[in-house]
Amino acid sequence: MADLRVVVVGAGPAGIRAAQTFVEAGLRPIVIDEGNASGGQIYRRQPAQFRRSYETLYGFEAKTAKAIHDTFDRLVGQVDYRPETLAWNIYDGAVHTMRDGVAHKIPFDALVLATGATDRLLPIKGWTLPGCYSMGAAQIALKAQACAIGRQVVFLGTGPLLYLVSYQYAKAGADVAAVLDTSALSGQIHALGLMTSRPGLLAKGLYYRAQLLARGVPVHNGVTPVEIEGTDQVEAVRFRTRSGAERRVACDAVGMGFHLRSETQLADLARCAFVFDEDLAQWRPETDSDGRASVKGIYLAGDGARVLGADAAEKSGRLAALAALQDLGLPVAVRRMDVLRREQQRMEQFRRGLARAFPWPAELARAVADDVLVCRCEAITAGELRSTATLKGAPELNRAKALSRVGMGRCQGRYCGSAAAEILADVRGERVEAVGRLRGQAPVKPLPLSAVRGAAS
């Protein structure tokens, strides 16, 4: 049994619980994470030289953050932890990694992908100006580096992070110039009913909102972003209010994001089947109730499987590892699996609530003007993308990518993919799922030049 090879990619809440479950079963998993410390996104650790308390860093989540960190710290010696290591491909039953320019091939009997999520973006005129950051970036600056992204910050977009990050900024003493939510407040209140499995999240959101209002921060719901203004850096945000009035807020920084998208490239490279998730309007790897992917030996957990947040990530990490152990023929507590499974199923309704409260504003993506850059990496406009469908007849996203290069840049479509699909679907008069999805490509992130040169020679 000791020579069973189990690998976990991702040391966030999902990956940590999966690793712990393997250790409890007597295995020694390899845990790969690109970051220099474990914890993942929500429980991202500050560098060793920083002194802020758990309460300051993680607020309501302080206790859980500490529990997760302590759990992983106690696993040292029982797991083969490989930080600062990128899993850049999966083929031939092996994970291919890169650390400091050194490549490794790690064959596996079971692989848990717990790769988390990144911000879901859509282009707004001016979003490439210095001073404009993703919502997650704004939070990382504060959490991991004790910095605000600017002196006067506008937060723009939708999703639970919008209110959380705005509140964290206000609390840290930063000047929050406005919070602009594309979703209607009524949707958030209605969704409370659907979120009974995890009412805390929306309740916290409404609490953060109230706190912001109490501090005099303008909060607008149901807005339409018009432009991030500035000549060579962010100077203001223009938007239309719900009633259609145009407003301008001066600022020197913008944090923007429209909830999250799963980081699914590795599952794709491993040839897992994908399904279109109607509620979230995004593709995700197909799994059974335990996290088994369509490819034998591969399991998915956490936000990388579906965006359900940190608590669900912990549970799905445990469940996926138990499923793997079961498939490897090891004894597992079936009752424990049942409980976890039921808890996960309850998350289904929560997921619908989340989609109701913070809908993906597909219509905004579809309406992006021709002169707006869709692709940040290679400066390609919405107009150029549209012409691949109209003039060149691209029937789906990968063809449009080949013709326009949208999605081919070094972010690999992480920041343009959602909007590009909507724009293409709009031009073709189709539903967004009909234009397919950008396929993951290896390496999932650019490798160091030395490694690229090494591979080429």
Binding site: Q46, Q49, T128, P130, Y133, C147, Q441
Partner: protein, 103 residues
């Protein structure tokens, strides 16, 4: 040049000297390179596609919009690199043949 990022806490860390485009700057131990630059400057780099300057975007190693360079042409992802004493970086690649490369 005014700074883009504002430090809101943790300012009593040990100072470290680094060089940005040949100019000496003081960073703090534990800073990422991106933070070390943007607490002194408003931008990090020029877009290779002539659409202006950039200052990073995701801060989590996903967008690759924060690449800086060493004098010998090594690429550094500023948001995930930690500063070290004596570090010396350039906001533009030192030679033309580095971009484009295959992802």
């Amino acid at each position: 040049m005014p700074a883009r990022f504002v430090r809101v806490a943790e300012q009593d860390r040990r100072p470290i000297e680094i060089e940005i485009d040949g100019v000496r700057h003081t960073a703090l131990e534990g800073d990422t390179l991106l933070v070390a630059v943007l607490t002194h400057a408003e931008r990090l780099r020029q877009s290779e596609f002539s659409d202006g300057s950039r200052a990073g975007f995701c801060l989590m190693g996903a967008c690759q919009d924060c690449w800086m360079w060493t004098a010998d042409g090594q690429r550094i992802r500023a948001c995930t690199a930690t500063v070290a004493p004596g570090m010396s970086v350039l906001t533009n690649p030192p030679s033309e043949d580095i971009w484009p490369i295959s992802a």
